[in-house]
């Protein structure tokens, strides 16, 4: 595997402590894996020049500049339509959970969010950040300046999943808060009653927003790797339940699948992109989802 693509793996990214570097590595790994510029075919206006880098399309090289300076510069373009994106982070305590992975669901979400932010800022797209638990706790208005990336990453690194959550209620608040049609990229484990959440998503869609719902679960929550008698404890409610895990796995997986299927079906009907993830998966899935969404908005 090429070196850049290593950074799509959560266990590799875990070794990089700085969030900005994490984001940069993830995006570079992702772009390298595409074998082409992600901007190919995009109709954008020229904005500036930059030094040629391997991977850039040769047809973007500005030959006049080359004639004058004897150096390769590629033409940079600006999108005709900017996408205002919001990274919406779930701060529930359950997001801070992992059973045996390198990253918790929240860390995994933050990495993804950072990478997406990096991509967006890189694209001159304004990017904001909203974090919620029972209500909106933090909010950073969207900007497309390069300094915005530092602001977003700074806030992201300070966030901690600690309390109870009210996903539906918070999403409704967000819908009321947003004036401009935006792309909402929600990171949550959705461990709440599904119907209110779905209602809130529909409300967001009704407000003209595009929504990508990253349903982030821990690898253990998806694969149920337990055996023997296990006493499970729910971290938010402290509820406990004894189960013979060896016999229960099939039932659990069926129930989880039913839950995911429900969201998948409802999101499809509402025009929400539903992306089920778990913390053992590579990051490129989430990034690809963002790019596809961006293209569809042109």
């Amino acid at each position: 595997m090429p070196a850049a693509e290593q950074y799509l793996k959560p266990e590799v990214i875990r070794q990089i402590s700085r969030l900005d570097l994490r984001a940069q590595f993830i995006v570079r790994g992702f772009l390298h894996g595409l074998h082409a510029s992600p901007f190919h075919g995009f109709s954008v206006e020229f904005s500036e020049h930059r030094r040629y880098a391997p991977g850039d399309d040769l047809k973007d090289i500005d030959w006049l500049v080359y004639a004058k300076t004897d150096k390769y510069y590629v033409k940079k373009f600006e999108a005709e339509t900017n996408i205002t994106g919001y990274l919406v982070m779930d701060l529930s305590q359950s997001m801070g959970y992992t059973y045996r992975q390198e990253l918790t669901k929240f860390e995994y979400s933050i990495c993804l969010a950072a990478a997406l932010c990096y991509l967006m800022i890189h694209q001159q797209d304004p990017c904001g950040l909203i974090a919620f638990d029972e209500r909106i706790r933090h909010s950073l208005p969207p900007r497309s300046k390069r300094t915005q990336l530092a602001n977003v990453l700074s806030l992201l690194s300070k966030l901690e999943p600690t309390g109870k959550t009210e996903i539906a209620k918070s999403l409704v608040q967000i819908a009321a808060m947003l004036r401009q049609k935006s792309l909402l990229m929600i990171f949550s484990d959705l461990l709440a009653e599904p119907e209110p959440v779905i209602q809130a998503l529909r409300q967001l869609r009704h407000g003209g927003h595009d929504v990508i719902l990253f349903h982030v679960l821990d690898e253990a929550e998806v694969k149920f790797p337990f055996s023997g008698m296990v006493e499970f404890e729910e971290p938010e409610t402290r509820e406990r339940l004894q189960v013979d895990a060896s016999n229960f796995k099939q039932d659990y997986l069926a129930e989880l699948e039913r839950f995911r299927e429900h969201f998948r079906r409802e999101c499809f009907q509402s025009g929400v992109d539903y992306v089920p993830l778990d913390t053992s998966m590579q990051f490129d899935k989430a990034l690809m989802e963002y790019l596809l969404s961006r293209r569809s908005r042109r």
């Binding site: 359950s94 959970y97 059973y99 484990d189 461990l191 679960l217 821990d218 253990a220 929550e221 998806v222 694969k223 337990f226 023997g228 008698m229 296990v230 006493e231 499970f232 404890e233 729910e234 971290p235 938010e236 509820e239 339940l241 004894q242 189960v243 013979d244 060896s246 016999n247 229960f248 796995k249 099939q250 039932d251 659990y252 997986l253 069926a254 129930e255 989880l256 699948e257 839950f259 995911r260 299927e261 089920p276 998966m281 590579q282 899935k285």
Partner: protein, 734 residues
């Protein structure tokens, strides 16, 4: 049920171990923080119930495996008697052997009796110590229990085929009676038989079941030594045209032959034995070849001329040649004895002219055509009644008076002396008798006549003789016919007999119920009276038309049978069928008894038994062999040469086997266990005695339970199926 190793049964308590382990070794649950508890909670209740059921099933399987393992180690045994019997408990065993000649059937160079004895010896070796044994056979010998095995084995060695075998049921009666007196708790009845239909027919069922009911607890075993597919050619019941016949005639021998199993070509030979100067010589008289298939039956007839035979006793045999495809040898030989004697001398006396009166009877007894060839059975002398006074009556076998006139007392006295000494007198009463009171009802005549005569009865429309349904020896031949046309020969007049003498018997009657032929024993002789004449000519005064009707063959037959009856007597039997306690009776003719005689048995053995010197016959009891017997005695002046033959009964050749259904019907609720080999018998007898040990079955059951436990445990706990949903972009785990 019982445990042979009871101590190990306590091991069954180990079944509690899985239960205890289940209770006290419950797994401490691992504590795991798990946010997605909502997915667990949804299905947990149903899962818990299923889990509990699985636990219980596995627990039951494990406990059951331990319990059955304990039972196996404790040697759980199933006993059929229900009683707890020690393995070495002595038994009372009664063995019953069919020793009928049929058991001489050879298969694999071994008679069925020898095969039965072989199995019985092995059985004896396997009886527990101190057992008591009784061995019956169908000879009828009484036996009792013996505890000495060697004695029992010796008794087995001595068993032999018995021509005069009792039937099995009679023997079983004695055997069951002995079983009821058994001193041991375990009683066993072993029946060694060829399972032939003759022995075990359903007609015996009631009798058999009644006697087996007397020993209901006895174990019943039938050791079937019979041949499944018998192959045999059998000679049946030999028939002779006559056992006593005069010279110059032919003996007709009818020999039924039947075949069971396969097709075979056989040769039948017949021989005649002569005694010349005390030496027996065998002469082949004839032979024939025949082919028979399975189920075929035929009668071979051959004739032996007596033309050149001197008067005397002759013996012969019929023999099947070759042993190929013939399992039973005993029915390949049949023996016969007959007597040749000079023509019987008959004195025919009548009023003059005697030739006229005696014409019909003389012609019937000695037809002129045969007389010319000297081939008549009877040699008749004709004389008038007046000549009787001076005639030497002792020279005649029979004196016949045809239509006698009243006779002087002196003649009646002579006749009485003749009859009293053993002579035979036939009187055919007719019109010449006159007034009976003067002569025939007088004292002198009444010493011979069967009763007082009444006035002659007139029956103008005719009455008729009857011979149907009459078993008297004189009329036996008439029974072979399908009706005799006596109605063509009416009787118009006859002498009624009014006061029947106490020694007299009516042989037959007319259709009007009046006696027609009577007989009376007088001293050693016999008088026969016919109440209507056989000498009347055909005219309107004739008393009957018996000899003068159209085709008077019934008269000819009656005349001959009457004379044969008088000369022969019903005791002149030379051929016997073997049966239990058979005795032969031989009449001594012309001799008033002999004090001692020499009896030569078929196997050449000789005996010199005593007899009653004043008896006119010899009785030979206890006949156990088949073949030709010879009796010699008397003096040099009046030697006695007699003989007789004994043959197996035709039922001894009936090898058809009883079907299992027929056997079940015969035994009813006392159905026995049927075995065919000593190994099978040994196993079943031991199982019955000691019970069926369930060790192999229990171990198999334990294995099945453990396997089921293993499979179920794997099914319950070992399911590792992959989740049904996997993201299309999710990579395989490395």
């Amino acid at each position: 049920m019982e445990f042979l190793n009871f101590g190990m049964a306590f091991f069954a308590a180990s079944a509690a171990v899985p239960v205890i382990l289940h209770l006290i070794m419950r797994q401490n649950p691992k504590h795991v923080v798990f946010p997605a508890l909502r997915f667990v909670r949804q299905r947990n209740e149903a899962n818990r119930r299923k889990l509990r059921l699985r636990h219980l099933v596995l627990l039951a399987l494990r406990a059951a495996a331990l319990i059955f393992l304990a039972f196996a180690l404790a040697r759980l045994t199933l006993t059929t008697s229900g009683a707890l019997v020690s393995q070495q408990a002595p038994v009372s065993a009664v063995m019953v052997f069919d020793t009928s000649p049929r058991m001489g059937y050879e298969q694999d160079n071994q008679t069925r009796l020898a095969a039965a004895v072989e199995i019985a010896k092995e059985l004896l070796n396997n009886l527990p110590p101190k057992s008591e044994i009784a061995i019956f056979d169908t000879s009828g010998d009484l036996v009792n229990y013996a505890q000495d095995m060697q004695l029992a084995k010796d008794r087995l060695e001595r068993l032999q085929l018995n021509p005069g075998s009792l039937d099995m049921i009679t023997t079983l009666e004695d055997a069951v009676r002995l079983l009821t007196q058994a001193s041991h708790e375990v009683q066993e009845l072993y029946i060694f038989t060829d399972l032939s239909q003759v022995t075990w027919s359903e007609t015996q069922a009631a009798r058999l079941q009644a006697l087996l009911g007397d020993a209901p607890n006895a174990a019943r075993f039938i050791i079937d030594v019979g041949s499944i597919e018998p192959r045999n050619t059998a000679l049946g019941n030999l028939e002779l045209s006559a056992e006593t016949l005069p010279r110059n005639t032919e003996l007709v021998v009818r020999m039924p032959v039947s075949r069971v199993g396969g097709t075979v070509e056989k040769e039948l030979q017949w021989f005649l034995h002569h005694w010349e100067d005390g030496q027996a010589e065998t002469e082949l008289k004839g032979q024939t070849f025949f082919t028979q298939e399975d189920g075929d039956s035929q009668t071979i007839e051959f004739r032996i001329s007596t033309l050149d035979l001197k008067p005397g006793i002759y013996q012969g045999e019929v023999r099947l040649v070759g042993r190929k495809d013939d399992g039973l040898q005993l029915d390949d030989q049949r023996f016969f004895t007959f007597r040749v004697q000079p023509p019987w001398r008959i004195l025919l006396a009548s009023p003059a002219p005697a030739e006229s009166y005696t014409f019909d009877l003389h012609g019937a007894l000695a037809p002129p055509a045969l007389r010319k060839e000297d081939r008549t059975r009877f040699e008749c002398t004709v004389m008038t009644l007046a000549q009787l006074e001076s005639a030497k009556l002792d020279n005649y076998h029979v004196v016949a008076l045809l239509d006698p006139t009243p006779l002087p007392d002196a003649v009646w006295d002579r006749l009485y002396q003749y009859v009293n000494a053993g002579g035979r007198l036939a009187i055919f009463l007719g019109r010449e008798a006159g007034a009976p009171d003067a002569s025939f009802n007088a004292e002198a005549a009444q010493r011979l006549l069967p009763g007082k005569l009444g006035p002659p009865a007139r029956w103008p429309d005719g009455t008729f003789l009857t011979t149907d349904r009459n078993s008297h020896p004189l009329l036996r031949e008439f029974q072979q016919l399908e009706g005799v046309p006596w109605r063509n020969f009416p009787v118009f007049r006859f002498w009624p007999v009014e006061q029947l003498n106490e020694h007299a018997r009516v042989i037959t009657q007319y259709t009007n119920g009046q006696p027609a032929i009577l007989e009376r024993d007088v001293g050693r002789g016999r008088v026969l009276v016919m109440t209507t004449p056989i000498s009347d000519e055909l005219d309107e005064t004739a008393w009957n038309t018996l000899p003068t009707g159209l085709e008077p063959w019934p008269f000819v037959m009656l005349a001959n049978e009457t004379m044969l009856y008088l000369v022969g007597g019903e005791n002149q039997t030379f051929n016997y069928v073997a049966q239990p306690q058979l005795r032969a009776e031989l009449a001594l003719e012309g001799t008033s008894g002999i004090p001692r005689y020499l009896l030569t048995f078929p196997d050449g053995r000789q005996d010199n038994p005593l007899s009653s010197p004043n008896e006119p016959r010899i009785t030979i009891p206890g006949i156990t062999q088949v073949g030709n017997y010879r009796v010699q005695g008397g003096t040099a002046d009046s030697p006695v040469e007699l003989g007789f033959s004994v043959n197996y009964g035709p039922e001894q050749s009936q090898l058809a086997r009883v079907t299992p259904e027929q056997l079940a019907a015969t035994f009813g609720s006392f159905e026995p266990t049927v075995v065919r080999s000593s190994g099978e018998l040994k196993r079943i007898a031991r199982t019955r005695r000691e019970g069926q040990e369930l060790f192999p079955w229990l171990i198999m059951l334990v294995a099945v339970l453990l396997a089921a436990e293993h499979v179920l445990a794997n099914v319950f706990y070992g399911m590792r199926e992959k989740p049904r949903y996997r993201h299309p972009w999710e990579r395989e785990e490395t």
